[in-house]
Amino acid sequence: MTSFVVKRLLLMIPTLISVAVLVFFLMRIVPGDIVALRFQGESSFASKESLAIERQRLGLDQPIWKQFLVWGGGLLRGDFGTSMWTGAPITEELRLRFALSLQVAVMSTIIAVLIAIPLGVLAALRQDTWVDYAVRIASIAGLATPSFWLGILFILFLLVVFHWLPPMVYTPFWVSPVQNLAQLIWPALAVGYRYSAVATRMTRSAMLEVLREDYIRTARAKGLWQQLILSRHALKNAMLPVLTIIALEFAFLLGGLVVTEQVFNLNGLGQLFVDAVAHRDYTLIQALVMLVAFVFIMVNFFVDLAYALIDPRIRYR
């Protein structure tokens, strides 16, 4: 097991390096250069001198491999550089916003699991009945509904029915849990529903597959209670693919939040990303894309570990 962990950790290094290379050069395939482009984006006149000064300030006058090494070296120390727009250190900015996005992400995950697993199991047990069709249609609808629109509908509903709007200012959970949840539960629900759609479909198909197995028939033949068969025999074996999809979706949740945060005026990573794109703040975009990829790779790693721990059939050397 230890050697497996070490091996997996070592394997992450080339992946992270290639992601860093891709992100870095992606930002440099811009025709022309990013400084000129940024000034152009502001539609203000910029002289050659001010462009040169800016370029020097950002270290863009250096050869490209050197720029990469400086940036990469910073990453290793957890330093993402400074924003091209505000000049503030990016790491500081990320730290401020990470908590909020993480909390919404975790809450959405919990909501998604609470919806997906019971519904998926139910649909599988009642395959090809109206229950199954209803669950399937609800989950295809979940995939089709943009979470930002769902968010707008929530706001609309709260306004029309309760004449109440969720608080607009973020309160940390430990200061006032009620205030905090009153604000964040709505985006979590909007994102969580969509997220549950994927997991419901996965739970359903995994359960269907497991229910056809011989050991389930044996358990039934033994006369075991249906509940025991379900919880101990079926669900346990169906959970592996479900766990994977939930974990991978969690990593991608940071992406899903990009749009929804905008609706609820949340000052999270998503909002930061949108602002960065709108301002063509390339250093900030670079940092955020890198952060998302890093989270994804880490989640993948933990999923692999969880596999090895949960499923005794899987043995890693």
Binding site: T15, L22, A144, F148, I152, L153, L159, L254, V277, I285
Partner: protein, 300 residues
């Protein structure tokens, strides 16, 4: 290799892909997959709305009418008007044009480029395959919208740029799927035969292998349609997609729709309904098509 195969085997292979008319296929599809057929019908309605928006729309989608600002749904304005007095129904119909344009452009080009990359990768195998797959893997470790937004930051906003920005993150996904089916096709006797006949790599890839990954290609294509429409709506909603005054569903939900949510809820409800319905229809159709074309993929 083809010659040492018993004749029955070759015949059986030919049987797997019997010649069937398109009409038979359509009739079969409607009969066995009613949900998919409903999806296809809604898709068709969307396409018609997009194509004939000019004829169907009762008003000019960009014409402002300050006398009719924020008017509620009525006989004159079936779905009401927005904060500039623009007719919501007309804007939704023209929005269908934008959505279909983005959807089909992204899906067709994205799936095709992805398929060519996937098949090429599978055909050559070895180091070339490994290198291509590594690059694709890296792309796959980003959420679609993050990559699309990063592309927008490079390309800028506007219809064509948005199409490219959405297409690029989808290409690796298409290549992944087509590659896995192309790997099996590479071992087929007819590919060996083509190679033995001395055809160039390009001809073998494009003429012999590509047409045989049609099933996964079509599945990808329909899946991309819904995703592309959703992504376009998201980008436009963020103000980073199609630019005003072009009518686009995502754009209609931006700003004023939330601001006037209480007094003019139709502004927020109908465009979102249009997005959901279109994507829902595409997904329904795509799901059924997938089941019909490739039963092995059903569990995914």
């Amino acid at each position: 290799m083809a010659l040492d195969r018993p004749l029955e085997d070759v015949v059986a292979l030919a049987d797997l892909t019997p010649e069937r008319s398109v009409k038979d296929g359509v009739v079969d599809f409607v009969r066995h997959r009613p949900l998919g057929a409903i999806g296809a019908a809604v898709v068709l309605l969307n396409i018609l709305a997009g194509v004939f928006a000019g004829v169907l729309a009762p008003y000019d989608p960009v014409a402002t009418d300050y006398a009719a600002m924020l008017s509620r749904p009525s006989l004159a304005h079936w779905l009401g008007t927005d904060a500039f007095g623009r007719d919501v129904l007309s804007r939704i119909l023209y929005g269908a044009r934008t959505a279909m344009l983005v959807g089909f452009a992204v899906a067709l080009v994205g799936a095709t480029v992805g398929a060519v990359i996937g098949v090429t990768s599978a055909y050559f195998g070895g180091r070339i395959d490994l290198a291509i797959q590594r690059v694709m893997d890296i792309f796959l470790s980003f959420p679609l919208i993050i990559l699309a937004l990063a592309m927008v930051s490079i390309l800028g906003t506007g219809l064509v740029n948005v199409i490219v920005a959405i297409m690029i993150p989808l290409i690796p996904r298409a290549s992944l799927v087509t590659r896995s089916s192309a790997l099996a096709i590479r071992e087929m006797p007819y590919v060996d035969a083509a190679r033995a006949a001395g055809y160039r790599h390009r001809r073998i890839i494009l003429r012999h292998m590509l047409p045989n990954v049609m099933a996964p290609y079509l599945i990808m294509l329909t899946a991309f349609l819904g995703q592309a429409i959703l992504l376009e709506a998201s980008l436009s909603f963020l103000g980073l997609g199609v630019a005003e005054p072009t009518p686009a569903w995502g754009l209609m939900l931006r700003g004023a729709a939330v601001q006037f949510a209480e007094t003019a809820p139709w502004m927020a409800v109908f465009p979102g309904l249009a997005i959901s319905l279109a994507v829902f229809a595409f997904n329904l159709f795509g799901d059924s098509l997938r089941d019909a074309l490739d039963p092995r993929l059903r569990t995914q």
